[in-house]
Symmetry: C2
Subunit: 611 residues, 2 copies
Amino acid sequence: MDGPAPNHECCLIKMADPLKRLISFLPILSWAPKYTRTEAQSDLVAALIVTIMLVPQSLAYAMLAGLPPQVGLYASILPLIAYALLGTSRALAVGPVAVVSLMTAAAVSQIAASGTPEYLTAAITLAFLSGIVLIAMSVLRLGFLANFLSHPVISGFITASGILIATSQLKHILGIKAEGDTLPHLVTGIYQGIGGINPYTVVVGVSATAFLFWARKRLKPLLLARGLKHRPADMIAKAGPVAAIILSIFAVVGFGLVEKGVKIVGEIPAGLPPFAFPSFDFGLWQQLLLPAVLISLVGFVESVSVAQTLAAKRRQRIVPNQELTALGASNIAAALSGGYPVTGGFARSVVNFDAGAETPLAGAFTAAGILAATVFLTPLFRFLPQAVLAATIIVAVLSLVDIAAIKRTYEYSKSDFAAMAATILTVLLVGVEAGITAGVSLSLLLFLWRTSRPHMAIVGQVPGTEHFRNVDRHQVITDPSILSIRVDESLYFANARALEDAIYDCIADQSSVKNVILLCSAVNAIDASALESLEAIAHRLDSAGVGFHLSEVKGPVMDALKRSDFMQHFKGRIFLSQFEAIKSLSPLDQRTLAKPPLPTVAGAASLNPSD
Amino acid sequence: MDGPAPNHECCLIKMADPLKRLISFLPILSWAPKYTRTEAQSDLVAALIVTIMLVPQSLAYAMLAGLPPQVGLYASILPLIAYALLGTSRALAVGPVAVVSLMTAAAVSQIAASGTPEYLTAAITLAFLSGIVLIAMSVLRLGFLANFLSHPVISGFITASGILIATSQLKHILGIKAEGDTLPHLVTGIYQGIGGINPYTVVVGVSATAFLFWARKRLKPLLLARGLKHRPADMIAKAGPVAAIILSIFAVVGFGLVEKGVKIVGEIPAGLPPFAFPSFDFGLWQQLLLPAVLISLVGFVESVSVAQTLAAKRRQRIVPNQELTALGASNIAAALSGGYPVTGGFARSVVNFDAGAETPLAGAFTAAGILAATVFLTPLFRFLPQAVLAATIIVAVLSLVDIAAIKRTYEYSKSDFAAMAATILTVLLVGVEAGITAGVSLSLLLFLWRTSRPHMAIVGQVPGTEHFRNVDRHQVITDPSILSIRVDESLYFANARALEDAIYDCIADQSSVKNVILLCSAVNAIDASALESLEAIAHRLDSAGVGFHLSEVKGPVMDALKRSDFMQHFKGRIFLSQFEAIKSLSPLDQRTLAKPPLPTVAGAASLNPSD
């Protein structure tokens, strides 16, 4: 095993100074002491914008998770404070997000019916468990696990979740009852309920959706064209959902829409978030553990991707392991204040960043803003139509759907596409947890499958250089008495036999070959199984009177070979470079430049379908 | 994706001639038409020796599987005929083997109690299912799955199974009752039963074990020293178990040992194997499917390893995919004639080969010999002590225990050792199926983990060559304005972020670096996630005013890059070789030969812990 890949965490570990160690655990200490008035102003403005955006989103995502609306607000207060203390990103905004809300609904609805106290307790417990999982991952330094979620799987997961979420909200837009966790169920439910459509709800819902789409796409350019400056135009455009909410509340009250069947949010208890306790029922923990792990992983990946993107723009760095701690603490804070699982959201963090947030204090200011809304404004939301919240969700999640990425992935790599397609189809047809599991499993299996069938090429010398390339792709110099094979993969148990077969096949009918050189420039490791295969090859070639040599063996591989008894039995030579190998094994006059390849090479040309 | 790795099956597929296709399916047609009298003589002698060896082994392994003794004989008749028709190995001898018998006992005892008709039916059904699984694997060309069982996992599995089997037989040697599937249970059972030891059984059992060990290790050298020729000496030594059986039967009858509590085999029904039907109960199939898959995989690996080893000695080849068909047919034949799962056995195949078997007809002759024994000799075995069968098993399986392999693996590779240790401990403490599953899972996870943390090296030019090696291991020429990084792994989702981190860290404080060259000689693939990382690196370096270039990109990787839009955005250059890259980017006078490395390189020296 080689040493760990380097990362900047090493630098933190190396700091012997206890103060620096404290800073690495409490990143707030790195910026709070030098906090300036200018930074405070920027942070306050950003907090105001994010608050305006977060209040309706929090209500909406709580509805998506099947929870009372105030739970969304609770989940947007203490978690922000916890992240401000512990997080390494200057701009990340944590809180309820669409995909995690959907995953919460999927997990918790297995345990209790939406609307019951048990449902709320399960959601709170899920947040608590996610917090513990994230902190455990941080302590065990398991942040690297997130790397096993490939980009196509994440992209497919988010696209499919977006489609699923948007479809699940259609019932609110249409004013019908419909249940279901999968796309076929949702569509069937809507189809069956289509007779009970409430026309008033449809008018409210469709116009809210249309307005929100317009505000998102067209309003800012329009305002800019009218001469507004960038920042006010942006703020007004971002306040679109607030306008929709205010207008719809007026419409409900003014036209008496409640009596006409338009569903409203209803009374939201005003006041501070309660102090809540998660359940410590072991049976419940067992049921929620897998969802908690998946929510933690998905949340961590979403959060870190956003944080890294934003940090890179200002040449700052985030520390993934510390992010695990911060998100863990945020989730525990959510659980203790009656909230549900949270993570760093994409849209709100970008808004926070664009609005000029300089430090995590912007998050704390946002928390204060939402706290104020929770204490003072909730009575105003009583007549807010559910259809408008659904419209907010639909507009938000459809922006996550990325169909172009599917096409791009299909063109680039069929195996990446297969993993992506499996993720999308499983999310839509089975569920979110099954989808992410299927995607990760398939992408790992396809990687293993590929490495178990390594690409191999017969190589020759590029004229005028010391460089060797595939005989089928380049015009190269070869020697009929020497077979140079490059294997393009680390040698391990899954491909050891393929190597044996390939070499035996290559030399089977080539009586002119006196030496085989295995070019190991792409062999990054040789495990015990492959070592036995190499011994078998050496033995077999030796008894056939053919020399077997290695070239360009890397340092770590050579170290491992020296630890085994391979070198004692090995009769061939190990060359520093392929050029040196050819120089010492091949008399100059036998070498020929040929294209198409020489017969000695053509016999094994089936080796090289592509390289 | 690259094309499949070549193997000789291609040759068979290419044969358009229908006769040749028939031969590839019925390998018997390739040798039967030219069968000679000399070959017949060799085959007959080999069959005689193997029959003498197989009769006691078949009875013993049936006992190990918890089945009536005649079932072992039944499993050694029709399966041999089926393999003779379809198999590609000239020397493989199929039948009941120790590890598969243990796995059968473990699987079937979950379903019924040993000795009941349901137990026998389940064992027969297991053989049938294994047959179907093997044939399905052949049709779907899934033989490659066996490659995922690494050598250390197989070796650990066989060693642990040997220890488990030997321990499970101790109760028969001691004449006590003891149950258990795991080592702790077995040891506890023996400890608790130790008071009920039957001294007569112990005398018979221990002397049989001692005699068999002696016959296996010392008898042949002794006979050779007395002037016997190789073959008769070998035959006599191999007949050791037969001698032990005959002597012990005489002892039981002569000394009236049955009355003194020595357990005997009892009456074995004489006659042809019955025509049996597997159960078609769907519930039973569900319970047996996973064991059937594991038995098929383990049996296939054992069988193919033996067959390939023996074929290589005579420069013959076996066709793994056809072996799947042959073993599948053998298991179905076993099921239809009242037997239980079979595979190619190591010891018996080596004996068959050493005794001179020339064609699979030797197997058919052996089948005839065992059929004769089944019809005529079973009454003779009535008084055979169970302790002697147990001794046969113990001596056979302890020869499979390979402690030296554990030490060798530990020294060569800690991750191979971890997989091996996990396999051994899980087999001993939990069970055979859990053991093989744990070993395979852990070896795959460790492989993924290793590839997710790729080794990277900063390289420089080896003086006087066009070759580039690690600055920390070789005295090389570098240029402070150029950073050449070699990444020793294919770039895929699990390591894409590690690459980004490493490159950012390398250039972080090195203001002298104007160009970064990523040497891709060991990069065998770049997936969609890694492509995004490369784009991110290119973008970031570009905005820092540093050039980013690639060198020695392989053909298949280049093909994939061309399919994406990477090349349109990429501002750097792609060089055929690292030497060419340096030549065109580095003014000659800036290059310096240095050891210890230059400051520009030392700053990132932590990159290279080992290479």
